[in-house]
Symmetry: C2
Subunit: 128 residues, 2 copies
């Protein structure tokens, strides 16, 4: 099949795509920041106070969240010193879709399902 390698490559891409986002989210403090942002747009100083973390650390974690598009930033128009951070809903929905499709329990297959269906058995050949 000609499309096989393409499909395989696409799956590889989406797998890397998913891993990259999970890596960004797989950190307790970033999860806390993310959760506060879910409750509403926040600035660095608010997050810093709420989580008792220095502003530069908040800034570091926010940049990671922004690097994968999950968080947006917008300067205050009346006072440009302030930057408001928010969850990018489209990015979050895309992540949910990818996660749900990759980790869907219905994907789990019993071992011996395809025995005899193919020249290559579902069980490993016990001899070389």
């Amino acid at each position: 099949m000609l499309n096989y390698s393409v499909a395989a490559q696409l799956e590889t891409i989406s797998l890397e795509w998913l891993a990259e986002r999970l890596k960004v989210l797989a950190e307790p403090n970033r999860l806390r920041i993310f959760s506060l942002l879910m409750d509403g747009v926040r600035c660095n100083c608010e997050l810093s106070e709420a989580l008792a973390m220095p502003p530069n650390l908040i800034s570091h974690h926010l940049s990671k969240l922004r690097s994968v598009g999950l968080v947006d930033a917008e300067r205050d128009k009346s006072d440009p010193r302030w930057i408001y951070y928010s969850i990018n809903r489209a990015a979050l929905e895309a992540l949910n879709a990818a996660f749900g499709s990759f980790f869907a329990p219905d994907r789990i297959q019993p071992r011996w399902l395809t025995v005899g269906h193919n020249t290559r058995s579902a069980a490993p050949s016990r001899r070389a």
Copy 2:
């Protein structure tokens, strides 16, 4: 409120719980192993061959997946050298539930929703 700190602690626990699992999953090779296990129970040697990775590395990643209960192991009764690995469906379902509830797009709140609802405004006080 008396239950507040308890609820906060519970949320902290589940947040750490979620972060721990995401950390285990946030690795491309572990995602590949997990995906193959979704297709059916596999032994180390099968995974090793399919992913072109040394058996000790597969073993290392499998132990990480097992450490959070997402993967089970079972020895072959007729030949104890073989160990069959499989996805723990209950653990996967629990993870899906936690992920879906934490990252549900409907949780996203607009910034100014609770203005005037509390003594503490949704906006940070611009002065000390």
